[in-house]
């Protein structure tokens, strides 16, 4: 197999301040063969994106430094020493890149046609008319319906999936030999993710190009990669043919990554975490199957009836447009059980959560909490119930006030609700909660920015627990976390449910996670309930076509047959 690009002993340093530097990539070597897909897999901080940026010479000049001795050989030339002019000739023409966020990668003030033909005119010297024609052909190739019309559309007039298709069209406009895709599907819905993966795989075959696919999600890789490179902390842990890595992983970290992610066919009592594999493999794992599902005799804690939420947008001077985000949603939440809420973006699942918390006012319906409607009571009456329903948000980087120490964050809710008589009592409770979520006591005195994403989510969970709630709404609470951290947080949530008999409403777009944690699953689309059933039943025998479509879009990893 001929090699297109080879990375040899690549080392990249980042300057943090005047004295300290951080080695982001520590001497890695791998090859990208011609006409094949190589997946670079790693969690945040593994150095995978730094590696891809250094191939294109796109690292920030002012604080990064590729150490001497590093080589990135493309067609006999070492790209590391090249100046910007030479690199620019390569970029876009020979090597091109697609990024994670299509919404921010496209310029909002130009039509997609203009942006596409700009690439062509820059690298191919085409006349404006020819470039326009080629742009339409490219849009057609990436599967945009009615390309002759859409070529004049602005990015904001397209959906996220279509925008990513335009980005791909731009990337392949000049027939590159190497396409670098940096997390191209992470920001997209499951069903769209599947379509984009299929598109990239098909384009790779048709144009005989190579693809460097960068992702944190091993399951995605299984579908398209020929070779897999697993990175962690700037080093390569394992590399080889995809089939070999998936079926017979040699490195403990690779094994852990493969095991940490909840699977559709199995449900262990606790998910395995990285430590189970890394530290000599002390197998204290409890992989026995966990029982799920609800019984008719379960006491109901929350009974939601015909919940509705409308949003109004201003139109013109006096006009208003009504948008029904949630329509006629009814469900019952049994005590101590978990209700999974699945749907794509715009399905209204988050709105349901926020409306139950009264962070949005409901437009219709009622929610009976132990027989009393919490949606119609006065704010004063609701205060007591506010304590008993708590929410954990998606982004742990945004949900903690950066100007407060963890101690303040944890004691504030108790202070507001008058839990614990003195500051000392509240502090003691806070320390207890820190211990519960597995954080050291010193954390009390630290600021949120000193913690990693997983630790911050633990702090957010501890904050909710200080109020001793009965219902916990988890709004995409593990979606922003790395796979290995996700497993830890899911285990924590599970332990807390076992200990305190909490009821969860678990909102997520990730069907595998929902399947793992839920007793009952509710599928939503465009504000309406599509299907609601026991989690095993819904995955085994989906009744509705929409549910079937969602389920078929889940990346299967390498376990095609299993």
């Amino acid at each position: 197999m001929e090699t297109l690009l080879s990375v040899r002993n690549l080392r990249v340093n980042f300057r943090l301040d005047e004295e300290t530097t951080f080695e982001a990539v520590k001497g890695i070597s791998f090859d990208i063969p011609k006409n094949s897909t190589v997946a670079l897999v790693g969690e945040s901080g593994s150095g995978k994106s730094v590696t891809s940026l250094s191939i294109l010479g796109l690292l920030p000049k002012e604080n990064s430094h590729v150490l001497p001795g590093s080589e990135i050989v493309y067609e006999g030339n070492n790209l590391v020493g090249l100046n910007q002019v030479e690199l620019r000739k390569l970029r876009g023409a020979d090597i091109s890149m697609i990024f994670q966020e299509p919404m921010t990668s496209l310029n909002p003030v130009f039509t997609v046609g203009f942006q596409l033909s700009e690439v062509l005119r820059l690298h191919r010297d085409l006349s404006p008319a020819a470039a326009h024609k080629r742009a339409i052909a490219l849009l057609e190739e990436v599967g945009i319906p009615d390309p002759a019309f859409k070529v004049n559309a602005y990015p904001s007039q397209m959906s996220g999936g279509q925008q990513q298709r335009v980005m791909i069209a731009m990337a392949i406009a000049c027939e590159p030999k190497l396409l670098i895709a940096d997390e191209p599907t992470t920001a997209l819905d499951v069903t769209i993710q599947q379509q984009i993966l299929d598109l990239i795989a098909e384009l790779q075959r048709r144009h005989q190009m190579s693809v460097l696919f960068i992702t944190h999600d091993l399951a995605v890789v299984g579908e398209i990669a020929d070779y897999v490179v697993v990175m962690r902390n700037g080093e390569i842990r394992e590399q080889g043919a995809a089939k070999r890595v998936f079926e017979n992983p040699q490195d403990a970290y690779t094994k852990a990554l493969l095991q940490c992610r909840p699977r559709l066919d199995r449900r262990p009592v606790r998910l395995p975490v990285i430590e189970d594999f890394m530290n000599g493999g002390g197998h204290a794992m409890n992989l026995a199957e966990r029982k799920r599902g609800i019984a008719l005799s379960d006491p109901i804690i929350l009974d939601v009836r015909q919940l509705g939420k409308d949003f109004y947008s201003r139109e013109g001077l006096f006009g208003q447009r009504k948008f029904e985000a949630v329509k006629n949603v009814s469900f019952k939440l049994p005590k101590g059980k978990t209700l999974g809420l699945v749907g794509e973006s715009g399905s209204g699942k988050t709105t349901v959560g926020l409306t139950l918390m009264r962070l949005h006012e409901a437009s219709a319906g009622e929610a009976l909490f132990e027989g009393r409607d919490i949606l119609s009571m006065s704010p004063r009456e609701f205060m007591e119930y506010k304590r008993r329903i708590q929410i954990i948000f998606q982004n742990p980087y945004a949900s903690l006030n950066p100007r407060m120490i963890v101690g303040q964050i944890l004691t504030e809710p108790m202070q507001i609700h008058g839990i614990g008589g003195t500051a000392q009592e509240r502090a003691d409770l806070a320390f207890e909660m820190l211990q519960k979520v597995g954080l050291p006591e010193v954390s009390f005195y630290k600021y949120p920015h000193e913690f990693s994403g997983g630790q911050r989510q633990r702090i957010a969970i501890a904050r909710c627990l200080t109020l001793k709630p009965d219902i916990l709404i988890c709004d995409e609470s593990v979606s922003a976390l790395d796979v290995s951290v996700q497993a830890q947080v899911l285990n924590l949530l599970q332990d807390l449910q076992d200990e305190f008999h909490l009821s969860y409403i678990f909102i997520s777009h990730d069907l595998a996670v929902v399947k793992y944690i839920s007793d009952q699953v509710m599928v939503m689309n465009q504000g309406e309930i599509i299907e609601i059933a026991d989690s095993d039943a819904i995955y085994r025998n989906p009744r509705e076509p929409y549910t079937k479509k969602l389920l078929s879009a889940i990346p299967k990893g390498w376990h095609h047959g299993a």
């Binding site: 918390m357 962070l359 945004a398 949900s399 100007r403 120490i405 502090a427 320390f431 005195y445 600021y447």
Partner: protein, 378 residues
């Protein structure tokens, strides 16, 4: 007891910003210059330096020491000459009330138009209209005293003004007014802008509409007109008046920024999380959001201070500024415009340089402060 566990105090975001600021050499030098000005202002305010700024220490228009004394006015003759001109100048206004045959009639008319009262009151008012009266009396007294008591220097370190007062001391005393007005007015304007902006951005709806309407109307009026209007309403001259004028007219920029920040932050997850744990509106506005937008407030305060120091100078230059018995850089520049014709440049140079140095240092510091407080630029 868990409180007793050993822990180091973690650096807060403020501490980290301060660390970044300390690494910035330009910021530290400009901060030192600003601090120097402030120290000098405090010292003069406490009466430790430049207390006798109003004393006529040198001959009239005494040149700076480096330039040497004026050729035509050397020796004791110059001092005597100086004294006579001072006396002549002092005598001129004393004649006014006596010699003006219309004075009484004028006073009566004034009194009638202003408020129909007794003629006695009218006469008293007619006198107090002249703001120079007291000062003139003072100057007269001093002039005669100086004449008798002490010989006056031919040169002063930075020269002397029309009356022979030390320009160096005037500059120091003037900084007191200028910096105080700048800082105090900036505090008033920032406070108003922050409170209005927070309320408008946080509550939205009709309150936001109201403040936006108010803001639009306010900014539609030309700035100088507005200042004149407020000055007319407040009726009296004085340092606090200028602070109020600048403060009441200068809040608009802060309002716009803070409103935007609150709009942005009220949708953030940490504010929603605060809502979820039951925090009240006031708590969310001031305990949660305010510390997160306070860097914007701080930078605005700094920018406004610079702007208001300049504004005070312009106002005093135009004659709307500080009363005549108070010295400020603006009033010095105002005096200097007449002196320049006579070729006496030093008062302009002293006040102009002092202001330029302070404003430049303050602006550079503001820039560095903004960089240090903006985590994105890290």
């Amino acid at each position: 007891m868990p409180f007793d566990i050993p822990h180091t105090v973690s650096p807060s975001l403020w501490a980290l910003a301060w660390k970044r600021l300390r690494a910035d050499r330009v910021a530290m030098v400009s901060l030192a210059i600003v601090a120097l000005f402030v120290v000098q202002m405090i010292l003069s305010g406490a009466g430790l330096i430049a207390k006798d700024w109003a004393k006529e220490a040198g001959v009239n228009y005494a040149p700076p020491t480096l330039q040497g004394p004026d050729a035509e006015s050397t020796g004791p003759a110059a001092a005597a000459g100086g004294a006579t001109t001072a006396q002549a100048a002092a005598e001129e206004p004393t004649e006014l009330p006596v010699q003006d045959p219309l004075a009484d009639a004028l006073a009566a008319i004034r009194g009638e138009t202003k408020k129909p009262g007794g003629t006695e009151a009218a006469a008293a008012e007619g006198q107090s209209v002249d703001p120079l009266a007291d000062v003139m009396a003072d100057i007269r007294a001093k002039g005669t005293k100086a004449d008798v008591a002490e010989a006056r220097a031919a040169t002063l370190p930075l020269g002397g003004d029309k009356w022979g007062r030390d320009v160096l001391k005037k500059t120091i005393k003037g900084s007191e007014t200028s910096i105080f007005v700048g800082l105090a007015a900036a505090v008033v304007a920032t406070f108003l802008g922050t409170v209005f902006g927070a309320a408008a951005g946080y509550y939205g709806r009709w309150l936001d509409d109201f403040f936006n309407w108010f803001y639009s109307v306010f900014t539609a009026i030309p700035y100088l007109l507005l200042i004149l209007a407020v000055a007319a309403v407040l009726q009296q001259k004085g340092i606090m008046t200028i602070v109020l004028i600048l403060g009441l007219t200068g809040w608009t920029g802060v309002f716009r920024l803070i409103r935007g920040e609150y709009l942005k932050h009220k949708g953030r997850e940490y504010v929603q999380a605060a809502d979820a744990i039951g925090a009240s509106n006031a708590r969310r506005m001031f305990v949660h959001i305010l510390p997160n937008v306070s860097h914007v407030v701080l930078v605005q305060l700094s920018i406004l201070t610079v702007g208001f120091i300049k504004a005070e100078v312009i106002l005093s230059f135009l004659g709307f500024g500080v009363p005549v018995d108070v010295v400020s850089w603006g009033s010095m520049l105002n005096e200097a415009q007449n002196e320049l014709i006579l070729g006496k440049w030093w008062q302009l140079a002293a006040a102009g340089t002092a202001m330029a140095v302070l404003v430049t240092a303050f602006s550079l510091f503001t820039d560095a402060l903004r960089d240090a407080l903006d985590p994105k630029l890290k």
